[in-house]
């Protein structure tokens, strides 16, 4: 399959699903409706998380507001046993994988360094050092290939990450080894305050060809286009065709994190251009209406589900216990050095003097 010069879009401005020579949507009506529910729920949780931070329940939160379609659409195209290596904003991907959002928030509340069992959901822990996780995906994928297994790896990273050396190393290594991995770049236009125009001098998707793999740019706010393009890349990898680089063009409607103030570097007009009819959820609703899959009852049901989930998340977060002191040391080594063991014993004895703040 060749790289095209045109950004792939399947939903037009009126919500019609267009035909495309390469990228197909093979989802039934239930699946299509489920996508909508996931979009609404993820956004609702994301907003709740921001509120929780503002209320002092989370130390910080990195919102995925505006990127729901890119995340949910792509995650849907993967098999549950395909391994995902995310960055730190992939609430939508985590939701599709069945990771409890409370477990994601435990990280942002300072409860744990990672809140969920990676193996249970085939969803790796968040990677805070920018652009370091694509290499892990490449390693995992190569391992799968050596085992003759048809599982693939997918890795998520942003536009800013593509400037890091590790991402280039990952693309190169994957291409040389024909690793079964999909590189999914969410170009949300901003790396904190640095706009894409200052981040790269050439379109990100074009790097694919430079490294020796197909590269494709997709309308990241068109959930069906994202799904279709991802599915194509996933199939290629699974069939032994090697890696693909996908650039999903979207927009970070929220701040970089809750500590960031975007009003200092971008305008309300710019944001407005990506909202309203351009908002990914609005666009998809328009499609559903057009396709006759929409009803008020359906919308109410989805809304109620979202509220219920958000309330549960809120209650769980507010009730999380203080982590025990043993978390400091328990998992640093499989076989810890005596120096650490003794050090911790001394700490435990010291802490025992005081009224316990810890579990």
């Amino acid at each position: 399959m060749d790289a095209t010069d045109v950004q792939v879009s399947l939903l037009d401005a009126d919500g019609n699903l267009l035909a495309h020579p390469i990228y197909k949507v093979d989802l039934d009506d239930d699946a299509l409706r489920r996508l909508y529910e996931q979009l609404v729920v993820v956004r609702r949780i994301d907003i709740e998380a921001t509120n929780l931070q503002r209320q002092g329940q989370l130390g910080i939160w990195a919102p995925c507001l505006g990127q729901e379609a890119a995340q949910i659409g792509s995650a849907t195209a993967l098999r549950p046993d395909d391994f995902i290596f995310p960055s730190y904003r992939e609430l939508g991907v985590a939701w599709v994988r069945g990771v409890d959002p409370v477990d994601i928030m435990r990280l942002y509340r300072g409860q744990a360094l990672s809140g969920w069992d990676m193996r249970e959901h085939s969803f790796a822990c968040y990677s805070i050092p920018i652009g370091t996780q694509p290499l892990h995906a490449v390693g995992w994928a190569i391992g799968a290939k050596w085992e003759g297994c048809d599982q693939i790896a997918a890795t998520y990273f942003g536009d800013g990450a593509t400037s890091e050396g590790d991402v280039s190393e990952a693309l190169n290594f994957a291409a040389v080894q024909a690793a079964p991995v999909v590189f999914f770049c969410q170009n949300n236009q901003w790396a904190i305050s640095v706009p894409i125009s200052r981040q790269v001098a050439a379109p990100i998707w074009r790097r694919g060809a430079g490294f020796g793999m197909p590269g494709v740019q997709v309308d990241g706010n068109d959930i069906l286009a994202v799904y279709a393009v991802m599915r194509d890349a996933v199939t290629r990898a699974r069939d032994g065709g090697g890696p693909t680089l996908i650039e999903a063009v979207t927009y970070r409607l929220g701040a970089h994190t809750t500590s960031d103030d975007p009003t200092r570097y971008r305008t309300a007009e710019e944001m407005a251009a990506w909202q309203g009819p351009k908002d990914p959820i609005t666009r998809y609703r328009t499609f559903l209406e057009r396709a006759g899959l929409w009803s008020q009852g359906f919308a109410d049901e989805v809304g109620a589900t979202a509220d219920r989930i958000a309330a549960r998340v809120r209650e769980s977060i507010e009730n999380l216990p203080q982590p025990p002191l043993t978390d400091l040391m328990a998992n640093v080594y499989a076989d810890p050095p005596q120096t650490l063991v003794r050090q911790f014993e001394r700490l435990a004895a010291f802490e025992a003097q005081f009224e316990s703040e810890h579990g």
Partner: protein, 325 residues
């Protein structure tokens, strides 16, 4: 019993490890077809194939990052950094991920990875080929740091490191690659975490590891001949875990201790030994724990490296300072 070089012992250890566990894989620059720039991986690709012994692109960060991903999958990678000075591009992957993955994942995803790094000077090389970066790695919680001084330990420690569930930075003293020892392989010597008293003595303890163990033994012999004193020499063998008990026992007996390493003195590993032994054996010490080390400078050009590296003379000078205190 045959005379085996350290390089050969390491080669045999890798061979036996690859043989014994299908999940062990060797990767690095020039490790496959060439057999490694020091021939430590010689013949392995021919025997085990390109998938078990991988010639990677020239990308240190990738070598380690890919190893992390392989480990998540359940493999046991043994990546090589071609030279000490070239391990730095991988520093982020080593310290941010290799060292932390197990802890971050609450123990569910271990990193049974061994990063082999030829290190140290004394080989007349150009810049960046004679570094001693052990302090950076020893200071990184989650890593183990091991350095053999002889072929038998090289074999045993490498086998054990590969079998370990913890990530190990395996530092091979490149100036000792060609030193021979009569040893029957396979062999298991003392475990990781155990220091060895390789020469018992009564008057002063010299603590060394890797390339400096030989210097310490030579110095001890010279001290005996010159009547300077009866030196005890300890080969640490692993820096993390550190065998504090053996060090304290020795310091208690001799009352004098000198640590020797090639790396710079300032914030070097010797500082950790000195602080720890002083804390735990204070009342037995007749003199402060002294350090005989490389200078606090970037590694010098080859023609000056002898002045920079601790040799027998400088070590004995430090020994004398301790005994005369």
């Amino acid at each position: 019993m045959a005379a085996v070089t350290m390089a050969k012992a390491l080669n045999t250890a890798l061979l036996d490890a690859l043989e014994g566990d299908d999940k062990v894989v060797v990767l690095g620059e020039d490790v496959g077809r060439l057999g490694g720039v020091f021939r430590v991986t010689d013949g392995l690709q021919a025997r085990f194939g390109e998938q078990r012994v991988v010639d990677t692109p020239l990308a240190e960060s990738a070598i380690i990052g890919v190893s992390v991903g392989l480990a998540v999958r359940g493999w046991r990678p043994v990546p090589e950094m071609q030279f000490d000075g070239f391990s730095y591009p991988a520093f982020d992957q080593i310290t941010s991920h290799l060292a932390k993955y197990r802890n971050r994942s609450a123990g569910t995803v271990p990193m049974p990875v061994v990063v082999r790094i030829p290190y140290g000077g004394g080989i007349g090389a150009v810049e960046h080929h004679s570094e001693s970066p052990e302090a950076y790695y020893a200071h990184t919680a989650g890593l183990k740091v091991v350095s053999p001084s002889n072929p038998a330990d090289a074999y045993s420690l490498l086998r054990e490191a590969i079998e370990s569930e913890d990530p190990v930075i395996f530092l091979e003293p490149k100036r000792r690659y060609w030193v021979k020892q009569d040893v029957e392989l396979p062999v298991r010597t003392a475990p990781i975490g155990k220091a060895e008293v390789v020469r018992p003595g009564a008057d002063l303890t010299v603590v060394a590891y890797g390339p400096m163990v030989k210097v310490a033994l030579d110095a001890a012999e010279a001290a005996r001949q010159e009547g300077m004193g009866d030196l005890e020499v300890i080969d640490l063998r692993s820096l993390v875990p550190l065998d504090v008990d053996t060090l304290v026992d020795s310091a208690t007996r001799t009352g004098h201790m000198v640590v020797v390493h090639e790396a710079a003195q300032f914030c070097g590993f010797g500082a950790e030994v000195a602080a720890r032994v002083t804390e735990e054996a204070f009342l037995s010490l007749e003199a402060p724990v002294l350090r005989c080390t490389g200078l606090d400078i970037p590694y010098p050009p080859a023609r000056l490296e002898e002045a920079h590296l601790p040799g027998v003379d400088r070590l004995l000078d430090t020994v004398r300072r301790s005994l005369d205190y």
